[in-house]
Symmetry: C2
Subunit: 561 residues, 2 copies
């Protein structure tokens, strides 16, 4: 190990220590806290103004990163807003890359927890400074509208990264570096052992990024593994490489400046025709795999990458149960935003809305099922009436497959609100589609109990709230979910929902009818996924997310009392 690199990283640790300690306090209290501002006004004016140009300067070029000798190039990203990025990236021989990263491991391990966390904190701070530019890269790969791409792809992603560092650091700090073990022996001298403990990483870490949240869903695994000593391969989705590459570059810059091998964080790019995730995930040197994406591949990883600890966030049937409301219009407005935001392409977006077929109480009056359904459809319709405002919320559809899914799903029920193709005010070629809302019966379980990724939701007629609770519970137990919303003015129903949420381990949002939405998840406060139902086998983030990324190895020798 280079002692210079370690010393320099420890300086960064001291520099950022206040932030880290505040973050550790935040994860213990879980009130509101964020060190990374979510308003562009709080970023330097030149950074905000120059962001577009800085992004455009990357287009049509090769993106340079540190790594072994390249054996090829790949990259064919196309913005969901209708243009090709024309950026290429190096491809490496997998064995050469893994051998290089393996060789870099001991120095990173031996630098110790504080040095590693110091480097990671510096990486996060530099990522934050890059946020306005990064936002364009996130926008033009994921399809998120700019403001969401900025917030979710920038400060919110960085918040999650810091949250993970707080967990990782706390877990490592709970292992003492050394102790004198002095066991009394009655009248004889005590037995004395001088003991030392080392935090030892598992090995190489593979983080498989997704196309919809290329930074938000990548940073947790990346920082959890890196902080605990594991070199990280970040395998970008072929449709969303640039924001990942930019993030890897920031990490490599910091590592290289400190004197560590920058390849400790390496980018892996592949193509839909020649995917490499499976091969990498099965490599015996890969001991950690983080994945966000489809159930099919997530389950494959869990079943096959047996040499590794596998952390997956897959799909589920996010649900809302409507029993009774104080103000149906307020509820409809709230759900309209949830259903519209990023065209339902969030892993937390509601898909199944259970409503008793006999109707519900709305304040003092009874409203029929159809009135509720129409209120929801009307809510979305009026929310998206202004096309410019609509486009600033719904963004673009990341993948053509999602557009096709919207069309295919129209057959699954009675159309309450049809999906419309929209013209984007700035990007005429953008792939913009509003939500599809369908009415189905509880008996049409095949329709609503499969994940329909994208802006597709079902209003489901049930016998009564009892039935809604039972159905939602069954579907979530079987298929998983990240979010469950419930609307009721009856405390007994809310208590039932609170127990149900524990039975199927899903986060519950109660009577959201204001400015907070079921699909939003705030770092340092909300646990994103519980890890306790089929939608995800891990939570972002809790103690279990970091504890399995390292082991503790001890040595002991005779000591003097």
């Amino acid at each position: 190990m280079s002692t210079t690199a370690r010393a320099a990283a420890l300086e960064l640790f001291e520099h950022h220590r206040g932030t880290l300690e505040r973050a550790v306090q935040a994860i213990a209290e879980r009130g509101y806290w964020s060190p990374f501002p979510e308003s562009l006004k709080q970023y330097p004016e030149e950074a905000v103004k120059g962001a577009q140009a800085a992004f455009e300067a990357l287009l049509g070029k090769h993106f340079d990163l540190a790594g072994p000798q390249a054996v090829g190039r790949a990259g064919a990203e196309r913005s969901p807003y209708g243009f090709d990025l024309n950026v290429s990236y190096d491809q490496y021989d997998a064995d050469t890359l893994l051998a290089r990263m393996q060789a870099a491991l001991p120095a990173w391990r031996d630098a110790g927890a504080n040095a590693r966390v110091g480097a990671c904190l510096e990486i996060l701070q530099r990522l934050n400074a890059l946020s306005p530019t990064l936002a364009h890269a996130v926008m033009h790969t994921s399809g998120q509208a700019y403001m969401m791409a900025f917030q979710a792809g920038g400060p919110h992603a960085q918040d999650r990264g810091l949250e993970v560092l707080a967990y990782a650091w706390r877990a490592m700090a709970e292992v003492p570096e050394s102790a004198l073990w002095t066991k009394p022996q009655g009248k004889q001298d005590p037995l004395v052992l001088d003991k030392r403990w080392h935090v030892v990483p598992r090995g190489l870490s593979l983080v498989i990024a997704c196309s919809t949240f290329p930074t938000w869903n990548t940073y947790p695994g990346l920082f959890a593994s890196l902080a605990t000593g594991n070199p990280v391969l970040v395998k970008a989705h072929p449709g969303a490489i640039l924001p990942v590459a930019m993030s890897v570059k920031v990490a490599q810059d910091v590592l290289a400046e400190l004197g560590f091998d920058p390849a400790l964080v390496s980018l892996v790019v592949d193509t839909p025709e020649a995917p490499v995730s499976q091969q990498l995930a099965l490599d015996p040197r890969v001991k950690l795999v983080d994945f966000t994406g489809s159930n099919a591949f997530g389950n494959w990883l869990e079943d096959n990458a047996r040499q590794a600890q596998v952390f997956t966030e897959k799909a589920g049937i996010n649900s809302v149960i409507i029993d009774s409301v104080r103000d149906l219009k307020a509820v409809a407005r709230n759900l309209a935003f949830s259903l519209s935001l990023y065209s339902g392409q969030m892993c937390t977006t509601t898909q199944a809305i259970y409503v008793p077929r006999g109707g519900i109480r709305n304040g003092d009056e009874l409203v029929s099922f159809d009135e509720v359904a129409q209120a929801l459809a009307g809510g979305v319709k009026s929310f998206l009436a202004d096309n410019e405002r609509a486009c600033a919320v719904i963004g673009a559809i990341q993948s053509e497959a999602t557009v096709q899914r919207i069309q295919a799903c129209r057959e699954l029920g009675e159309v309450l609100l049809d999906s419309e193709a929209r013209e984007h005010p700035q990007f005429p070629g953008a792939r913009v589609h509003t939500p599809l809302l369908l009415k189905v019966d509880a008996a049409d379980r095949d329709a609503y109990s499969e994940e329909r990724f994208g802006p597709i939701a079902f209003v489901i007629a049930t016998d009564d709230t009892e039935h809604s609770l039972r159905l939602a519970g069954e579907v979530i137990a079987e298929k998983g979910a990240l979010t469950l919303g419930v609307y009721s003015t009856d405390d007994a129903v809310l208590d039932r929902a609170e127990l149900l949420s524990q039975d199927v381990a899903v986060a519950l949002s109660i009577n959201f009818d204001g400015g907070v939405f079921v699909n939003q998840s705030a770092a340092f406060s909300d646990f994103h996924a519980s890890g306790g139902n089929p939608a995800a086998n891990a939570s972002i983030t809790d103690g279990a997310f970091v504890a399995r990324r390292f082991v503790t190895v001890q040595s002991r020798r005779h000591g003097a009392a």
Copy 2:
């Protein structure tokens, strides 16, 4: 949930809180600490004097436990000291038992972390009081000599149980019960959410006990799962049911007195002819499996119990590397005790001893390989010369298969010290055999790199210490190990060994030539297994051992600032 039961358990929590807080301090400091005395003198005289009679009163009878209607009886334990216990135990219909435990889960979950931990602390204290009697049950199932059965099966096992409770409680206490989340909105009113978090157990927990350490290896999984809210099925080894049954009874008594279903901790007995572990481990309701035992079954569990978090402690090739010593006789005395204790039936006992074929430095002189080998053999021989003292250390061989293995292994190398059958002074029918020590060459890898469970060890001639380090590293990386010892007067070699121990994630003991032994592992200080090599996929005990046994489920609703 019965609020009375919860309140009563919370009283126990307050009663034992001081012990728990001291335990939490201990796991952070990892110096010497033990709340449960390991000297019989510190137990009430009548408990010690009456222990034998209390144990004998259990023999030849049916052992009553709480549970559903029994569908049969099993139990055919035979003491390794040569007599049948003639104790029978109820067998239940698996589906009925699991359904009952599943039904008991919500009340236990909803009691909360402190109430559950309070009940567990009371269970441990009562187990401690029972230690002198429990020791007879451990002795006459495992074959351990009485003093070891008392210490390892009583206070040391209870220490591990308490250590686990400290980890579990700390992990659960790190999740706040509630918080007000207040997000500023500039000049507008802040967004305010009232958030609650629940620690939610995974489901049913299956703890598969072993025959050699029926309590020590069972309590960690049992208490880790129970404290975090998971009902526990303890599947006893057919050869060592009684100490497990006695432990389950203590747990059931405490649970029933509090008003919880005693079946929250249930005993499962089976027979070698009709084993039930596989069926239980695959049941979808079983979400946690703890196992100590063979690689074959441990690997099967890891490969097949995919619906569960699986924690295994299997077998490995515990190793010692001798490079140079200050006092060969002291080293030989130390290793003689390690090899002899409980006839090498500890999962931490050394099997492979690497010595350069050109000999080693012993203080100022050079000694040949054969002199080292003879010193080790002579050390064991003289340590066991006094038969009464020998029997008090080596105890009896738990299983006839181990006796046969000793015979079979005699062919694997040159016999340095042959195993002898001994007559036990109190138990003429006891299965007592001294260690077998073989000389082999480094090239005879098949001989020493397979686990040979029992009092069987190899002195392996290597080219030099470099070769010893490389071989030990390769074998441990491939087959795993819980312990590695190194003897060297050269700091450079010790530094190499310290790095090697991290590379293969094995606990290192350096120059043990006094009153501490490589196969001993002290709760609150030593991590037993790292979980980072093939000998075990979990450590007893660290944060990862408890973090995966529960998930956190949140609810949130609009609140007032």
